[in-house]
């Protein structure tokens, strides 16, 4: 198995007495879109900023592209791209100039025109960034992180506060990154975002990882009970079962044989949102 792009073992980070990250382990493989999920204050940004080299850890081992981010230098920065959780761009530069400014920082930048197309800002290339909508600014922000043609991209809550259509456009951009073969480390507190974009995800709550895996399998969703609901002779019935197929077969066979009907028959698996909410609420309230 090739060396992971990001490898974290026993990572800890304290601010005074408060332990924001309490010993987490993670691996992210090359070419993966990895979603780091959790509510506000769970330790997402602290973790991602340690990976980016902005913060020093209190304990544990971290390797990003084979280097310790605390020690890594210019050559390492050539290979990563960063979108911060909040950053206002220089309002007096245009889209093309903002990308040109950042491209100039790298030895082997991606051509600016290509980046403009990639983030879907072709029509706005000569507009000042101050005149862009929030969603467009965020896409430019992603474009600036791509200016150096990095292998690994960090996106810290790229769609927080967006309206649905702006989110969808941002998602299209991120899916485009996957097609380019980039490794993406994405933090989000939206379950649907992880589901839509990520190959794998981990959920962090109160500084600890409470679940990880493919988004569809997070929190052992497969093994959680399925709920069967129906009305029979005016009576509401709700059954939780781990063998929904046999139970349903038996139930419908009996009802058909007796010439009855099941009104409002519903079979529901726990949604990812349910799993997420149950996992993150167990581990305490919003801290910090």
């Amino acid at each position: 198995m090739p060396e992971p792009v990001i490898s974290i073992r026993g990572l800890r980070k304290s601010y005074g007495d408060f332990e924001a990250v309490r010993g987490i382990d993670l691996d992210v493989q090359a070419g993966e879109v990895f979603a780091f999920l959790g509510p506000n204050g769970a330790g997402k940004t602290t973790t991602v900023e340690i990976l980016e080299g902005y913060r020093k850890r209190s304990g544990g081992e971290v390797a990003v592209l084979g280097e310790d981010p605390e020690q890594a230098g210019r050559a390492w920065r050539e290979r990563i791209g960063i979108v911060l959780q909040s950053c206002r761009l220089d309002p007096y530069l245009t889209v093309r100039e903002s990308l040109g400014l950042y491209a100039g920082y790298y030895r082997a930048p991606r051509p600016v025109e290509e980046t403009i197309e990639l983030v879907g800002l072709g029509a706005k290339a000569d507009a000042r960034t101050g005149s862009l909508s929030g969603g467009q600014q965020r896409r430019l922000d992603v474009g600036m992180a791509l200016a150096g043609d990095p292998e690994l991209l960090f996106l810290d809550e790229p769609t927080t506060g967006f309206d649905p259509s702006a989110r969808r456009q941002a998602w299209d951009v991120i899916e485009g990154l996957r097609d380019l073969g980039k490794t993406v480390f994405l933090t989000t507190h939206y379950m649907d975002e992880a589901q839509r974009l990520a190959d794998r995800a981990a959920i962090i709550a109160a500084g600890e990882i409470v679940a990880s895996g493919a988004p569809g399998e997070l929190g052992d969703r497969e093994s959680l009970p399925t709920t069967i609901r129906y009305r029979l002779s005016g009576e509401e019935v709700s059954v939780e079962t781990r063998t929904p197929v046999t139970d349903l077969h038996e139930l419908t066979g009996r009802v058909v044989a007796e010439g009855l009907d099941l009104e409002g028959l519903e079979v529901t698996r726990p949604s990812l949102e349910d799993v997420y909410l149950s996992l993150t609420s167990e581990s305490g309230e919003d801290e910090r």
């Binding site: 050559a75 920065r77 909040s86 206002r88 220089d90 100039e97 100039g104 920082y105 150096g148």
Partner: protein
């Protein structure tokens, strides 16, 4: 790109952003010009009792250039760097391979070029409007004083950002420091009108030293020629500012 090429790259974009920012252009370029016009108009054709008596306008040309240099450097940097820091742009830039010194060098270069532009502009206005001779023979001294002073006030401006907590606080803090010093140092009020105690007090601050050094260079005829002592004091302030900046400058927003 090599270091110098990166600095040139950064400088080019800083220049673009500066000239498109109406507030920055007004305070750096427009405001000193307006002050020159006001002082020249109000105090008209009086004579000021320095250097054996010189025209008011001849006094105010170097005075306003002094102010314009400090405005283009200390004031401009303190304000734009705090804004960029709180916007998260400084932090973002630190996430790229661009070395931190390149960014700072680009900004300092931007400020020094603005200071030189203001020298040319105010000197030309003084010549055209008020007939204040441009001391061409003194040009080397003038440029040396201006560049050393500009660099020193850049360092002081960068150091000052450490005590400015937010974007909103930037202008009040910078003005609260500089405006009184302009009055006390003879930049706004001719120094023959100022009590001795006031100039003695102002002598403790670099605005006064820089003004005296620049005045010496611009208006020849001081008793013993160019006195470099004032400029040395300005340079020492600059080095102190640089050390404080290296120690206390922060790249990440304070508000988060």
């Amino acid at each position: 790109m090599s270091g110098p090429a990166l600095v040139a790259h950064q400088f080019r974009y800083d220049q673009k952003a500066f000239w498109r920012n109406p507030a920055a252009v007004f305070f750096t370029v427009g405001f000193p010009v307006i002050l020159l016009l006001i002082f020249a108009t109000v105090f008209g054709d009086q004579t000021i009792d320095v250097r054996g008596g010189i025209d008011t306008t001849a006094y105010y040309v170097p005075a306003i250039i002094t102010l314009a240099v400090i405005s283009a450097t200390m004031q401009n940097l303190a304000m734009t760097l705090v804004i960029a820091r709180e916007d998260g742009r400084l932090k973002r830039g630190r996430g790229t391979p661009m070395p931190a010194w390149v960014f700072i060098a680009g900004r300092i270069g931007n400020s020094i070029v603005l200071a030189l532009i203001m020298l040319a502009l105010v000197a030309a206005l003084g010549r055209v409007l008020y007939g204040v001779a441009i001391p061409w023979a003194q040009l080397p001294e003038i440029v040396v004083v201006l560049v050393v002073g500009a660099a020193a006030f850049c360092c002081l401006g960068i150091a000052l950002t450490a005590v400015i907590p937010s974007q909103d606080a930037a202008a009040p803090i910078v003005n609260a420091l500089l405006l009184p010093l302009y009055f006390l140092s003879g930049v706004f009020i001719p120094e023959d009108e100022l009590p001795q105690g006031v100039t003695d007090f102002a002598n403790h601050f670099p605005v006064r030293d820089f003004f005296q050094a620049f005045f010496d260079a611009y208006i020849p005829g001081g008793a013993s020629g160019m006195d470099w002592g004032n400029l040395a004091v300005v340079a020492i302030w600059g080095v102190a500012g640089l050390l404080l900046a290296i120690r206390y400058f922060r790249w990440t927003p304070r508000g988060g």
